[in-house]
Symmetry: D3
Subunit: 165 residues, 6 copies
Amino acid sequence: MSKRIAVYPGSFDPITNGHMDIVERGLEIFDEIVIAVARNSEKKSLFTIEERLHLIAEAHCNDPRVKVDTFDGLLVDYVVNQGARVILRGLRAVSDFEYEFQIAQMNHKLRREVETLFLMTSVPYGYLSSSIVKEVACLNGPVETLVPPIVRAALAEKCRKMKEE
Amino acid sequence: MSKRIAVYPGSFDPITNGHMDIVERGLEIFDEIVIAVARNSEKKSLFTIEERLHLIAEAHCNDPRVKVDTFDGLLVDYVVNQGARVILRGLRAVSDFEYEFQIAQMNHKLRREVETLFLMTSVPYGYLSSSIVKEVACLNGPVETLVPPIVRAALAEKCRKMKEE
Amino acid sequence: MSKRIAVYPGSFDPITNGHMDIVERGLEIFDEIVIAVARNSEKKSLFTIEERLHLIAEAHCNDPRVKVDTFDGLLVDYVVNQGARVILRGLRAVSDFEYEFQIAQMNHKLRREVETLFLMTSVPYGYLSSSIVKEVACLNGPVETLVPPIVRAALAEKCRKMKEE
Amino acid sequence: MSKRIAVYPGSFDPITNGHMDIVERGLEIFDEIVIAVARNSEKKSLFTIEERLHLIAEAHCNDPRVKVDTFDGLLVDYVVNQGARVILRGLRAVSDFEYEFQIAQMNHKLRREVETLFLMTSVPYGYLSSSIVKEVACLNGPVETLVPPIVRAALAEKCRKMKEE
Amino acid sequence: MSKRIAVYPGSFDPITNGHMDIVERGLEIFDEIVIAVARNSEKKSLFTIEERLHLIAEAHCNDPRVKVDTFDGLLVDYVVNQGARVILRGLRAVSDFEYEFQIAQMNHKLRREVETLFLMTSVPYGYLSSSIVKEVACLNGPVETLVPPIVRAALAEKCRKMKEE
Amino acid sequence: MSKRIAVYPGSFDPITNGHMDIVERGLEIFDEIVIAVARNSEKKSLFTIEERLHLIAEAHCNDPRVKVDTFDGLLVDYVVNQGARVILRGLRAVSDFEYEFQIAQMNHKLRREVETLFLMTSVPYGYLSSSIVKEVACLNGPVETLVPPIVRAALAEKCRKMKEE
């Protein structure tokens, strides 16, 4: 049997404990997970692509089963080029669901052979998102239980700089 | 690497093309899928457990990668006893989502090592359910695009008998 | 141009001011509305079919543009037999939406030429349903702003009888 | 200033840690909470009204700020008769929301002076309900983190008896 | 009987097969449909108003029952000025529903005599939106089953120009 | 017993009758309500913070039980500094619910002792929001039943100036 690879796409601006939980649980099912940061998102980001890749890599302590990469173009093409057939996504709440449903159906239409698999976000991370983490961090709120330590440091640094400007 | 098994639980009263689609797509990801009919559901059923097992088996033409079974007791215990760690479920709409979310979180609490993976129902089956199929069939509506041929025949027979009583 | 007819199906157990509002607004768009009480619903009802038909007819004061009827079999067949092509439905909330979506898609599949049109329930009736009206009435709560006067009387009578049993 | 009383109504069949959490947090805001078990619910129950009252009382260790009672008739009338003006409810998920919205609007219509206040269920209890607890317990699943100890014992006893019948 | 006109408002940036489906089905119910492009939307658009009007007109092959127009000011005023009383809208999913509900209630408040009628989007277009079409097209994904041929050509041209800049 | 204070946070750009309704009903439960305008919202506003404070104060006719204030930093810190433990919020619809749920859970995590209490928006204001009011006002639509008189005047003035620019 060949190696089972899942691609976990997103903007990861920055990676949170909710993302980490999905990766960790995904590794129980797949042999390798490629965390793929979207280059062409229109969303304004706090961290650059390079910063985000660095934070993701550090947070996973160079676990050989986790690869970190970026992609542009259609996600389904990227997935096939990675030798994968599975997109992994976390589902939090109803608003997630609608959006994820639309994207998954479109991706399935673009390439029948690529499937999107969903894991429900674990209970303690159900309310967590990169945006709310950034908001709390920039108001000097505590984020140590929400993100990996390296992300906490990076958030503090980034918010400090933004205030100086 | 060992064989990857997913358990696809439900009441399958009767199996529809929507279920068939989930199984078929699941087989692209897993080596074996166990369709597990719940014995202890409180829902009143149209078909007996044995009839349901028979219809499922026939509909899958004895594909060796598909096993058909029943279970009682906790689903997560059954999954572990089957040597599996994955529960497979299809997601249709918001009402599904809420219910599935609750069950998945409870199952994860009962056994950390068992994960529930969700596939979005394919577009043409998004409105399909066993209940609506039964309703249409018993009003003599056409169900040939909604269920496998053997289920259509069984529905016709069952509805005919119900009217005679 | 021929007469435009819409069929407004339901269980109407009993008709409420929310239903009346949909009919009234529907009459601004259609020349005739057929209020069609489903005979083969599995829901346990408080009023018999005949009582429900009587209450609907009285509540509309014999407006010649409103017909009251019952149907069994597939709704779409009934609609076509009435010379209509439109099913009219009121939409209240998200839970309504999911259910209505499923039924509308199935009906469209059964007969392409029959369309389901939805009106959003007017603001003051957004929380109203036959079930909540029955519950309030049987606890002797005031229902005069929720249902037509004749329905109020019928509810009082019915609840009185139920308590005597 | 007079004592602030909130009524917390429900069927509590049986009381769970999710209910306990709402009561505990409610006591930070109100001086007294009346847990009011509905007598006239149509739902089939596992425990009798008396058993439920006993379990609620025991679970709260006779905290003088918590009263346990039953009611029939309209909830809003009961609330006013208790000298209260506030109904307290926990909100879990979207399906809850729709139902709670309908009931709250009806209650506000029945009595303007009675308000319904909602607390979001705490994160760890977001998936918890009396029904899922009963289901798990009767399949011999572990419920010790879901309900107070006395309820666990009562569930075990009840499920044992049901199997003997 | 006078001609029945429905106004179908939107930004149509660009028109998709989902919009075409609503218009086509609307023409089974109304004698004329006015596709009305909103001038004062705050959304940043890919196509200019004039380009959008052109694409809509071409896509409908100058069907005499379909008019194409723009409007600014209140939609309900525009509707009345067109001699119409009906706003036609397609409904896709829950998030649509909430937004459409809010707008429909406000419009009904602004002018009682104008009704909003909703059609559920046909099953194959349930996941389709102008934004997702633009995203796929600009990543060179295939859109021929999502939009009319003339729109496909226009999208290709537009995306080519954006990349040159 | 000490004075019960609730903080009602928001952007209030501008205050609507929906907000007024929540404050009024909140005053039946709390001794004092602090309307707290968020300084650090990223949303582009129509009115300046000072204009918004002025409109809120005027709309409440200097009711001594209503205080008007601004805050920056974490809301939960502000609440505690005000000697309060309750955040008051209105809930309109499902989309509200998801967002409010996320914020409430995060706030509860940041400070256990601060609770968020929700009131369902009264029926006539269920579709009302500051954004839809601004949109209607700037299209010269009637807003007198949607906002206090002083807000109506301010909206007219503001929209007139925007058009002159």
